[in-house]
Symmetry: C2
């Protein structure tokens, strides 16, 4: 009970009580992280399970923390899909590393708003220091500054907003898109992430303001088509202003030819934004850097330490070579936020849409220091090696086939059993329809069994299973498990049909 | 050292090590929250202090967590402005309550992305449950749904994006503002928060797309001027589409006449968004509800539990009566995010710009359960009472004067010592200039002394000191301290001049 010792007193939970429950929660987390595999990866609850299990209204009187913690086990945990499970292979696999969690505890306790330098100098300067460290790790030139946002969706939105602001003579910030007669167009490949479309919608460009460029057979933007699209659009009165290239697309982790795209952007005077939200971490590895050639010429690049660098969500980094344009796009300093240090310091509120800014840099700092560059490198290499191993199994199998190259740690494949391969009475369309049904069923069945969690995409209309590796605890045994599960479910289907 | 026990092994920190350091961090936080007053509220460091104290590059090899934790004390704490200090009276005063911090620990450990229901049913459903509880506490009708974002900046941006989407026949989402010939205009008072201007810029309306309506002597939007502005704009080809009313402005916590504004919005078919980011918490108190009359007719309303409801940053809630419009404005479901439950569940990624979504609801749930509605109510009442007390001291003083009504827990005032009041040889402008200099100096000097932290605004050009009360630990002694500090610094000035 709150204030059990001092009836009627206000204030917070006592320090003693916090210590007691804090230890309990630490024990709980230590145990959880040590044994993630005792849970089904994908939660097995039915829609509405929690709404039906909790009261209809908030409690009138405070409840004992014991009861709340008991409910975490009883009511919350069954409905958690365990992103920390080493066999979580869906979407992009991530980790809340233990050092990152310790960093989050400090962020919550300090509870500062890093909007102005003076509202927490440590938060502002640690953001500058850690991003400078990260920039060096990625081998980006010194001309890149950086800022931390919550998500890549916001990082890319801010980059495109800066690009919009950078168009000469339009004055979009002042006049708006209608007032400025800004018939702007943004370019990205058909494989770009949905957050780029969403940014176009939010920023008022509309879906017509974004033009998707077709890809080659390996899902990479074709620069010659980009070139032609820009010329055609200019002829039709559009104002091309920005190209988004991706190094590590969501479906297949394909890598756009950034250097060739940078040539076009330079010639056409367009802002080049690189979406390296997932793939960017791999640039830490010298042997992977050739995939990022041209990124050093980008105007901005997003990379998410909360994806493949062991930092708990959320922490997305936007590196930008034109920080002053980003500031022009967003800066608004009302009197109540004016401070005397404005000229000598960075007030990060001026660089994005959000005034409220958590002390996110501290968890990045904890992760970088605890693991070190070598420790991070070794872990990324292991994930790349595991993906190569899994891809090799797929390639060697008569029952499965790979559907895309595997430049990073995500494998795209499908079941293509000999029985379906060999049926002569089917048209190609019938075969593909049967394969789609089969693979969707295989994936859903594997996920229901709860040992591993996979997700899917479609590539040129083909249903494709994805296995994404990125969790700290993932080892050979877990990809072996995924492979065994897939084969077991396929066998089930074969015996049933 | 990482993996000291198993050289060469990869993976995370061991469970034993996490337990050991987790306990240390819990002890640290318990001690920190119990003795916030041993620190200066406003950090006293110089710009560059941390950049100069930390290495230029990330460590190559992992470092011992002991070293990292020692650096928190030595290098981070001196640069922290202590938002948890009970004499933090600047901006809006907030608290990271201990139950909220425990909730954050779980959020970090689970590390789920609540983008889809299936990616963590517990996170999605707890969001629905806690927001339904909060809706009832604020006495908003059942027709309001809700969604959690990071900040009020984003909540208001989303509300205005939905308003933009709701304009009939324009198709802004598809065509963009230029393509749709959308000469849209948004209205708010001169006292509205800068995040509304920022939303207008981001959404492509531009600063010309927002029209500021003048206020009455108590800083409340004048509905008759809003009415006239809308008529004038329509006559000039503008398309009015949205009004933002504020219940608790940032400068003075003034409350716009929402009911009168709702009448206009109804008649003119405009979206009514209410910014109750700070003030909204007070609607939990029955005796305060008259300030919120008309909010039940809004299309959307933002309220921040991380401001005045003891939840650690960040957690902002948008309540919305037209959730389907919000979804229309933002929904994009690429194949790789398609899931079989789409129709029976809420996939919150469809309701905002951000795909990545932390498990924020859990800290709100911890706070609501531990304190209960009565516990929260009692704490808010105490803050309101403290503000009344401080306002009464100002009003009774011959040396200070109040500059705005005090409907909530924020007091606006300035020093106006008799010596300046009585000088006959000054013009009004000279007197005001002297008062501005004096008050700015008083505030800066009080802040430098480190015992309390105040911020300022300008009201009709007049430099105004603000004292905002909202921290759980703030008691009479702390507002007494602020009052003593102000008077002491004023005496210093009087003896010096």
């Amino acid at each position: 009970m709150e204030n059990a010792k001092e009836p009627g007193a206000l204030g917070d939970m006592s320090a003693e009580e916090f210590r007691q429950y804090g230890y309990q929660v630490v024990d709980w987390i230590a145990d959880y992280l040590a044994h993630p595999e005792r849970h089904a990866v994908l939660s097995q609850v039915e829609p509405g399970y929690l709404k039906n299990a909790l009261p209809q209204s908030a409690p009138v009187n405070g409840e004992a923390m014991d009861k709340v913690l008991a409910d975490v086990d009883e009511k919350i945990v069954p409905g958690v899909t365990h992103w920390n499970h080493p066999a979580f292979f869906a979407y992009f696999s991530i980790s809340a590393s233990a050092p990152g969690i310790l960093g989050e505890m400090f962020a919550a306790a300090f509870n500062v708003n890093a909007m102005l330098w003076r509202t927490s100098p440590a938060a502002t300067e640690l953001e500058e220091v850690t991003l400078n460290w990260l920039r060096q790790m990625l081998e980006l030139p010194e001309s890149f500054g950086g800022v931390i946002y919550d998500t890549a969706s916001i990082s890319s939105l801010c980059a495109i907003a800066a690009a919009r602001e950078a168009v000469p003579h339009l004055h979009v910030r002042e006049k708006g898109l209608y007032g400025a007669a800004a018939k702007l167009r943004l370019y990205c490949s058909e494989q770009a992430h949905s957050s780029i479309d969403k940014a176009a919608i939010v920023l008022g460009l509309g879906q017509q303001g974004i033009r998707k460029i077709a890809c080659d057979a390996e899902f990479r933007l074709k620069p010659e088509l980009l070139d032609a699209a820009i010329a055609e659009d200019r002829a039709n009165g559009w104002i091309p202003f920005c190209v988004v290239a991706t190094t590590g697309t969501t479906s297949t982790t394909s890598v756009d030819p950034v250097a060739a795209i940078a040539d076009i952007c330079e010639r056409e005077n367009l802002w080049l934004h690189v979406d390296a939200a997932y793939g960017g971490a791999a640039a830490i590895l010298p042997e992977m850097r050739q995939l990022f050639l041209g990124c050093e010429r980008a105007d901005s690049l997003v990379m998410n330490p909360h994806k493949w660098m062991f930092v708990p969500v959320d922490l997305s980094v936007l590196f930008c070579r034109r920080m002053e344009v980003l500031r022009q796009a967003f800066s608004l300093v009302p009197e109540y936020l004016r401070s005397s240090e404005t000229d000598e310091v960075k007030n990060f509120m001026e660089y994005g849409p959000q005034l409220g800014r958590r002390f996110r840099a501290i968890k990045l700092w904890f992760v970088m220091r605890y693991f070190g560059v070598e420790g991070i490198t070794a872990r990324l290499r292991q994930h790349l090696e595991l993906a190569r191993q899994f891809a090799a199994w797929v390639d060697a199998s008569a029952e499965f086939e790979r559907l895309a190259p595997t430049p990073f740690s995500t494998v795209c494949f499908r079941a293509f059993p000999a029985t379906l391969r060999q049926r002569q009475d089917w048209s190609e369309a019938e075969r593909e329809a049967a394969l789609e049904t089969l693979n969707e069923q295989i994936m859903e069945r594997v996920n229901q069994r709860g040992k591993v969690f996979l997700s899917h995409t479609k590539l040129n209309g083909t249903f494709t299973i994805r296995l994404a590796i990125g969790n700290l605890r993932t080892a050979t045994a877990h990809i072996q498990l995924a492979w065994d599960e897939l084969n077991a479910v396929l066998k089930e289907w074969q015996s049933a049909s």
